[in-house]
């Protein structure tokens, strides 16, 4: 049964635009569809798609952004995953790392478990919560023309930035990344730190 979202943007087109000309960009993806989305755009050593730890994506991005303040860090996650770790918005609001962006692909449903409605589908205002947490740049993205400016903003490192991107609730073919977590961690570390990463 097709589920309706108030959003109309296509998730893989959005992610494809956000990850275009990615340069030094480091990407953490929440488990489920966002992990498949970043992989569909091309697997990359600077991608860490999560297979678990629901609710942790934003705080992983925070720790990485604090450790590498000169590199842009992008967390791409879903509304359900973000709702499970809302306290992270407050923790990010306190630390305010300028190089961190959190983009929530909001389809108002739990896509991996049978398309049950999330709180955003009942009207909970995630972007408003990010504003209230003290995150200085908050964007609400509904139109295709707003996606390329979001990509540019992520590379500006003048955040922290939070974007709620309203997407269609379409279910797309899975594009699975490697699922060996040690590999995923080691390859990102090596891409940032060089071979020295493995001698720490």
């Amino acid at each position: 049964m097709a589920m309706k979202s108030s959003g109309t943007l296509r998730r893989r087109e959005v992610v494809g635009t956000l990850l275009s000309d990615r340069g030094e960009l480091l990407v953490i993806a929440g488990l489920g569809a966002p992990a498949w989305d970043i992989t569909a755009a091309g697997d990359h050593p600077r991608n860490l798609p999560l297979w678990g730890g629901m609710g942790s994506a934003a705080t992983i991005g925070l720790g990485l952004a604090l450790a590498q303040p000169h590199l842009p860090v992008l967390v791409i996650t879903g509304d359900g995953e973000m709702l499970m770790g809302l306290g992270a918005l407050a923790t990010i609001g306190v630390q305010k790392p300028a190089n961190l962006s959190v983009v929530v692909l909001d389809n108002e449903h739990y896509g991996e478990t049978g398309m049950q409605r999330t709180h955003t589908g009942h009207g909970v205002d995630l972007a408003g919560m990010a504003e209230a947490a003290g995150i200085p740049r908050v964007l609400r993205v509904r139109a295709e023309a707003e996606v390329a400016p979001l990509r540019a903003a992520i590379h500006e490192k003048s955040g922290p930035l939070f974007a709620q991107v309203k997407i269609d609730a379409e279910a797309l073919p899975l594009v699975l990344p490697p699922r060996e977590g040690a590999l995923l961690q080691a390859r990102m570390r090596e891409s940032i730190l060089g071979p020295q990463a493995h001698l720490a």
Binding site: L26, G53, G63, L66, G181, Q185
Partner: protein
């Protein structure tokens, strides 16, 4: 509430020196009386980013992110917070991320508050069930050597480790009832 270390206790300062010696750059914490002096020293140290959390499980994510970016982190919490971290510890096992935790115990030795006992009594079992290497210190002189050992095992062997600082080290708060 729990009990802050006596001003004459040296182990909080010894823990701070250990964090510096191990080149720890990110210290995640949920405020705790037992760790109050250590937290303050970390906040005062320019070489350390002390990050207050809304819940302890955020610290597991933060430490994974720190390690991805080449920084060492430590999570400070009390035993009740361990219960908030359980599923997140799978991240450390999956990715082989060093994840050292320094845990002050409640519900452990002469506890007054009944609500602290279930989690305090389960802390070590639950951590070990999630693959965490756990060592205990029940005397002040053992705190720093035990923490040193678990920090080494976290950073050298890539896993979650915990030092449990026994309530016996801190004493139990009695809320005015002796």
């Amino acid at each position: 509430m729990d009990v802050a270390p006596a001003p004459t206790a040296t182990w909080p300062d010894e823990l701070f020196e250990l964090l510096k010696a191990h080149q720890v750059r990110q210290v995640a914490y949920v405020p705790d009386a037992g760790h109050s002096r250590l937290i303050q020293r970390c906040l005062d140290e320019p070489g350390i980013k002390a990050v207050p959390l809304t819940t302890e499980e955020e610290g597991i994510g933060l430490l994974l992110g720190a390690w991805l970016g080449g920084e060492r982190g430590v999570l400070l919490m009390q035993s009740s917070g361990v219960g908030n971290c359980i599923n997140m510890l799978s991240l450390s096992i999956l990715h082989r991320t060093p994840m050292p935790m320094l845990v002050t115990m409640r519900g452990d030795f002469g506890e007054f508050n009944p609500a602290q006992v279930p989690m305090g009594n389960a802390t070590q079992t639950v951590l070990e069930a999630m693959g965490t290497l756990v060592r205990r210190a029940d005397h002040a002189a053992d705190v720093a050597p035990t923490a040193d050992a678990t920090l080494r095992m976290a950073f050298n062997t890539f896993r979650p480790t915990a030092t449990l600082i026994g309530q016996r080290v801190l004493g139990a708060k009695t809320f005015g009832k002796e």
